[in-house]
Amino acid sequence: MKLFLIGFLFLFSTFASAYTQFIGHSYTSCLNCHFNPSGGGPLNDYGRVVSATLISSGAFYPKTWNEEKVAYTSGFLFRKPKQDWLRTQINYRGFQVVQNPGSSKNEQKRWINMQADARVILKFGENDKFIAVGQYGYAPLPQNLEGEQTEWRSREHYVGYRPSPKVGIYAGLMDKVFGIKVIEHIAFSRIAPEVTQNDQTHGVMGHYLGEKWEMFAHGFVGNLAQDEDLRMKGGSVMVERTAFDIHRIGASVMSSKNNYQDLLSYSGHTRLNLKEGSAILAEIGQTNRKTQNGSDDRTMRYGLLQTYLRPVRGTYFLANIEYFKKDIKESDYTVRWGPGIQYFPIQRLELRLDAYNTRNFAPTSSTKDSWMYLLQTHIWL
């Protein structure tokens, strides 16, 4: 049985995720742990085992539990799946946001339920060559839209076919493939090219996973739930190459347009494995925007540098530095930075604290720094 488990663990060769820092555990591709090869969304069986063992602290497990026992409790509701074709998951993420902390006049606190969804995965055929993934649940609306639209909806649903382990094709509502899919949806590297947590699109994505190269090509027609004039239609390509067996370097380009704007984004990135779970992520890119009324034609430039240090199993110390230049023709720019800590005390539970300091640099004006911190809870069953 142990051999079976080990064999199962190594059935896939590489891994990353919305937690792209897990390249620090020598997993380079998202496909190992996620059904979507570009990462994010439901975990596959292997991903659940990894999250229960390698990622989570073992401090709170009974001393009589070995890794094999822990792995077998990683299924939905702590059970081993009774069949091969159906998987279900429940996911919740919420956080306390505190702005201007410590200010007697201006401190603002609020709790945001960021995500609460149920996920269903159907898989058939040899090596799960056919998959269908649906994800439905609660996602908050911006304050100005509350009451206008439903907060219960699908952010992702698609079907996939992998005729071989190297090649796959996926169709449906998915994230656009572009750059490092960091979990921070407020990252400038996600905002500028418009690939944030709500920017999924209907389309078709091709995926190739070779020995050294991983490639994505994504053609999309916009979000079909939107009015036709707003749908961003276009395509993106992302290529990554494995360097020295454990690191990745990559590049992305994306072009998209609707009736009101054209966007052209391009970026280069790297994910470096510092061993023992520690990693560095870096991305630099630009987005060129042309608008119908000419009011906001500009080229934005951004940079992202994140380090994750893992002193002990289950704990990651973070440092996040971001750079944003709203218009490369102007001298103003913004730097956002801050430390954080990510803690997985037991499987299915993530606790995270992030602090952010935002400073604007402008030659003709000065502004006060803004501070913010987030206390995040993430539970998956």
Partner: protein, 122 residues
């Protein structure tokens, strides 16, 4: 056949329809403005670009007459340095000013345009 039916069903699931482009029409389409002085049109474009992706897009984009900004929500209060629009922007130096939230400060020239626009109100 079973897989094809499931695939078809998935495409009919209601999907989220809010995203980064939801307000593109409000922000980037040509809008006819009335009233106000010389600074109203450039100020409106700044608000279109910097603010209306989060702020009351349906209402703010409809404030196409300069007086709408006074009569609705008291966004502009006649008199110097009283405007809610301006005092909330971090460039203003006001304690607690936090707009645009999570984003970069407005370029100094754009902030000055808003200040000049406010000064047009008696």
């Amino acid at each position: 056949m079973k897989f094809a039916l499931i695939a078809l069903l998935l495409f009919y699931i209601g999907c989220q329809d809010y995203n980064s482009n939801s307000f593109d029409k409000d922000r980037y389409s040509e809008i006819e403005l009335t009233g106000g002085g010389a600074n109203f049109k450039p100020a409106y474009k700044i608000l279109q670009t910097r603010c209306m992706n989060c702020h009351q897009h349906a209402q703010w984009s409809g404030y196409t007459d300069a007086q709408d900004w006074v009569t609705n929500e008291n966004l502009i209060s006649p008199g110097p340095d009283k405007s809610l629009v301006i005092t909330r922007i971090i460039n203003s130096g006001e304690v607690g000013a936090d707009m645009p939230q999570g984003g970069a400060a407005l370029p100094a020239s754009e902030f000055q345009t808003l200040v000049d626009w406010e000064a047009e109100y008696p």
